[in-house]
C-alpha cells in the first residue's frame, strides 16, 4: 500500500518500514543539527537501541552524551528534555509506551505544553515525545491505549499519529525542528509494515492531512494503525460500488479542518474511525466541528467508530471485538450512504 499514488510524479522509492523510517529521520536530524538529542529508557546501543530497535545505531554514531539511556523515570526523562529544550537543544524523548506517559503527565501537561504561554513567550520548549501504543498484540489494559484525546485537549502541544513510513520520516523531520512540543505516537503495526518511501523524503508539514484516495460518496477520516483497517474496508466498499474518499489525518492536533471539511462538503457524508475510545474521542471533536460548519449540507449524520467504553482486554477474542474491524466500517459507511 502506498499513499500519494494517484497523480503523483514518479519518484525513486525504497521499501522500508516505519521503524526504519524513524531511525533514518533521527539519523538525518542528528547529523544535520548538533542540537538534536535523544533520550529514553534503553535507547542507546548498550541497552539494545530501543525496545523495538527504533534508535539502534544512534548512540554508536553520535555518542552517549547526545543519545542517553535513562533510568525508568518518566518524570525525569520529560523534565530533562524540557530543561534541555529551554537550554537551546532539541531533545527527542522516548516514553516507551503511551500508557507510561501517564506517569509524566505533570511534566508534559503542566510544563512542556504551558511554559511558553505562562512565560509570555519567553520560554521555548522545542521537544518531541516519541511513544508507542496500539491494541492487537494481547498486551491488555496498560500497554495499548490510545490517549491522544488527553493531549489534544491540552493547549500547547501538537499531536501527530502517522501511518506510513514516508509520513513517519517527513513528520519526524518537521517535529524535531518545530519550535513547540510535539508528541508522536507510533502505533504497533505502523512500525513493521514495509511501504515505499521516496529516497529523499524531506519534511512533511505538521497539521496537514493526506487525501489517500479520492471519492465522491463518503469521506472516511482515520489515522495511525487504524488506517490499515480503513484501507481494507475501502477496498471492499470500492468493490461494492461505494466511492470513498479516504483521509489520513496524520496530525490530530491542530487538525486539518480545511481538508476534512472540504471533503465532507463534497461527499456530503463523513465517518471518523479511530482506535481511541469513541466516548469523548477525537471523532467527537471532528463530528461537532463538521456539523457546525456544514449544517444543512450533509446528507447524513456524522458517523463515529472507536473503541467501546472499557479497558483494552487481553483475550484475543475480546481484543478483536474491542478493535474496530473492516465489517463495522463497511456497514457504517453503507448505512450513511443509504440515508440520502
Amino acid at each position: 500500500m502506498s499513499t500519494d499514488t494517484l497523480d503523483a510524479p514518479v519518484v525513486e522509492t525504497v521499501k522500508m518500514n516505519g521503524l526504519q523510517a524513524i531511525n533514518a529521520a533521527l539519523m538525518e536530524a542528528m547529523e544535520a543539527d548538533p542540537k538534536v538529542l535523544v533520550l529514553g529508557e534503553d535507547i542507546a546501543d548498550n541497552e539494545g537501541g530501543g525496545v523495538v530497535g527504533v534508535t539502534r545505531g544512534l548512540s554508536t554514531k553520535f555518542g552517549t552524551m547526545r543519545v542517553r539511556s535513562t533510568p525508568i523515570s518518566e518524570q525525569a526523562i520529560i523534565g530533562a528534555a524540557i530543561g534541555a529544550a529551554m537550554g537551546g537543544y532539541k531533545p527527542v524523548a522516548e516514553i516507551m509506551l503511551m500508557n507510561f506517559t501517564t506517569v509524566a503527565m505533570d511534566m508534559i501537561v503542566n510544563h512542556a505544553a504551558k511554559l511558553r504561554f505562562m512565560s509570555g513567550g519567553q520560554s521555548q520548549v522545542p521537544m518531541v515525545i516519541r511513544t508507542l501504543t496500539g491494541a492487537g498484540n494481547q498486551t491488555a489494559g496498560q500497554h495499548a491505549d490510545f490517549y491522544e484525546a488527553w493531549f489534544c485537549h491540552t493547549a500547547g502541544i501538537k499531536v501527530v499519529i502517522p501511518w506510513t513510513p514516508a509520513d513517519f520520516k517527513g513528520l519526524y523531520l518537521s517535529a524535531i525542528q518545530d519550535p513547540d512540543p510535539v508528541i508522536i505516537v507510533e502505533s504497533g503495526k505502523t512500525l513493521f509494515v514495509p511501504m515505499d518511501v521516496p529516497v529523499n523524503q524531506g519534511p512533511i508539514p505538521l497539521g496537514k492531512a493526506n487525501v489517500v484516495a479520492p471519492g465522491s460518496d463518503i469521506t472516511i477520516v482515520s489515522y495511525g494503525q487504524m488506517m490499515f483497517t480503513v484501507m481494507q474496508a475501502y477496498e471492499e466498499l470500492t468493490k461494492a460500488g461505494v466511492s470513498v474518499e479516504v483521509i489520513d489525518l496524520r496530525t490530530i492536533s491542530p487538525w486539518d479542518k480545511e481538508t476534512v471539511l472540504a471533503s465532507a462538503e463534497k461527499t456530503g457524508r463523513l465517518l471518523v474511525v479511530h482506535e481511541a475510545g469513541r466516548n469523548f474521542g477525537p471523532g467527537a471533536e471532528i463530528a461537532a466541528t463538521a456539523q457546525e460548519a456544514l449544517f444543512g449540507k450533509l446528507k447524513a449524520p456524522v458517523g463515529r467508530l472507536g473503541a467501546p467504553y472499557c479497558s483494552v482486554p487481553f483475550a484475543k477474542k475480546l481484543e478483536d471485538a474491542f478493535l474496530v474491524q473492516p465489517p463495522e466500517i463497511i456497514a457504517e459507511a453503507q448505512r450513511l450512504v443509504a440515508m440520502g
Binding site: L37, M65, S73, E74, N110, H111, F117
Partner: protein, 342 residues
C-alpha cells in the same frame, strides 16, 4: 550545622568576606522589603493574587545567589519570589507581573506563581510541588553539552521531598553527574502538615545517601553556614563532579498562603521563630563585626524601599494585556483570530 553520617564533614569551609556579607544582606533586605510591600498591597486591595510569602527564608537564596553568575540558572516554585529577588530580578517587571499587567515578565499571563526572567537566570517557576527538579536537570545536561561551567539551582520545600519527582530527579542527576544543586528550604511545614507527620526521615539531607550524592543539613538562617555549603556544592558542580543536596532549615513567618491563620502551629513556636528572625540578627552581626554601620544599612534600606515603591507605581500604571494574548504564546505561531475558540 551537621553533615549526614555518610558524608564527610565539609572541608575548606569558604567564608564570605565583608563585601560578600554585605551583598548577602542587601539581597535579604531587598527580599524582606519587597515581601512586606506585597502583603501591604494585597491587604489594601490594590492587587488580587495568590501569595506565598517567604518572610523568614531570606537568608537561603541570598547566601546562594552571591555565588552565582548572572547566567547560572534557577528553577523555583510558587513560594519563590525571594529566590528571584535574590537572583537580582529587576523589580519593575516583577511587580507588573504580580499585578497582571502587560509589562510584567510574562505579559501578565503567568502571575506570581510563574514568574520567568531568563535574563537573570530565572528559568522556571512552577506551581506544582516537586516539579522544579526534573527540569533543572535538563539545564544541567545542556550545560554539560555546551561545555560551560554553568550551574542550575533547583529550589523546593520540605514537602517536595516526598513527591516522586524529587527521587527521580536526584537519581538521574547523580547518574549523569549533572551540575545541579538541589536546595530544600525546609520551613517545617508541608502546606499545613508538620514535618514529622509527613516525612519519614529526621533530616532530608539523609535522602542524598540513597542517590549517591553529598547531602548537608544547613542552618538556613545563618548566612555564613549557607554560604559555606553552597560554595562547596557549586564548586563541585562546576568541577563536573555532580549534584549536591542542601537542606536549609528555616521557618516561614507568614504561613502557607496569604491569609493563613496558622491554626496548625502553636503561638509559642511561631513567636520563638520570629524572635530569632535572621534579618535583624545578621544586621547586628554586620555592625558588631565592623563590616558596616547602622547608618549605612539604613541608607541601603531606604534605597531599596525607593526601588520597591517605584516598581509598585510603575506596575499600577501599566496596561492590562489585550485579549489577543489568549491566542499568543500557545504556540510560537499565533493562532489566527478566526480559529480561536473554534
Amino acid at each position: 550545622m551537621s553533615e549526614t553520617s555518610e558524608n564527610r564533614a565539609l572541608e575548606n569551609r569558604a567564608v564570605p568576606d565583608a563585601k560578600t556579607q554585605l551583598d548577602i544582606y542587601r539581597r535579604m533586605i531587598r527580599i524582606e522589603r519587597n515581601d512586606d510591600a506585597t502583603r501591604s498591597q494585597i491587604r489594601r486591595g490594590r492587587i488580587t493574587a495568590p501569595y506565598y510569602s517567604a518572610r523568614g527564608q531570606e537568608c537561603i537564596p541570598s547566601a546562594i545567589s552571591v555565588l552565582l553568575n548572572n547566567d547560572d540558572k534557577i528553577c523555583t516554585i510558587y513560594r519563590g519570589i525571594h529566590d528571584m529577588v535574590a537572583k537580582d530580578m529587576p523589580l519593575r517587571p516583577l511587580w507588573a507581573e504580580i499585578c497582571g499587567r502587560v509589562d510584567g515578565t510574562c505579559k501578565g499571563k503567568g502571575g506570581p506563581m510563574h514568574l520567568t526572567h531568563p535574563e537573570t537566570g530565572v528559568m522556571v517557576t512552577t506551581g506544582i510541588v516537586g516539579s522544579s527538579m526534573p527540569i533543572a536537570n535538563g539545564f544541567g545536561w545542556a550545560a554539560l553539552l555546551d561545555g560551560t561551567k554553568q550551574v542550575t539551582v533547583a529550589y523546593f520545600g520540605d514537602g517536595a521531598s516526598n513527591i516522586g519527582a524529587f527521587h527521580e530527579a536526584l537519581n538521574l542527576a547523580s547518574v549523569w553527574k549533572l551540575p545541579v544543586i538541589f536546595v530544600c528550604q525546609n520551613n517545617g511545614f508541608a502546606e499545613h502538615t508538620r514535618y514529622e507527620n509527613g516525612t519519614a526521615v529526621d533530616q532530608i539531607s539523609k535522602r542524598a545517601i540513597g542517590y549517591g550524592m553529598p547531602g548537608y543539613t544547613v542552618d538556613g538562617n545563618d548566612p555564613v553556614d549557607v554560604y559555606a555549603h553552597a560554595h562547596a556544592a557549586i564548586e563541585r558542580a562546576r568541577a563536573g563532579e555532580g549534584p549536591t543536596l542542601l537542606e536549609c532549615k528555616t521557618f516561614r513567618f507568614m504561613g502557607h498562603v496569604f491569609g493563613d491563620n496558622d491554626a496548625y502551629m502553636t503561638k509559642e513556636e511561631k513567636a520563638a521563630a520570629m524572635a530569632d528572625d535572621p534579618l535583624p540578627k545578621f544586621r547586628q552581626k554586620l555592625i558588631d563585626d565592623g563590616v558596616t554601620t547602622a547608618e549605612e544599612l539604613d541608607a541601603l534600606t531606604g534605597r531599596i524601599e525607593a526601588e520597591v515603591n517605584d516598581a509598585i507605581e510603575f506596575a499600577m500604571a501599566c496596561e492590562y494585556p489585550s485579549d489577543d494574548e489568549l491566542r499568543r504564546d500557545v504556540f510560537a505561531e499565533e493562532i489566527p483570530a478566526k480559529e480561536y475558540m473554534a
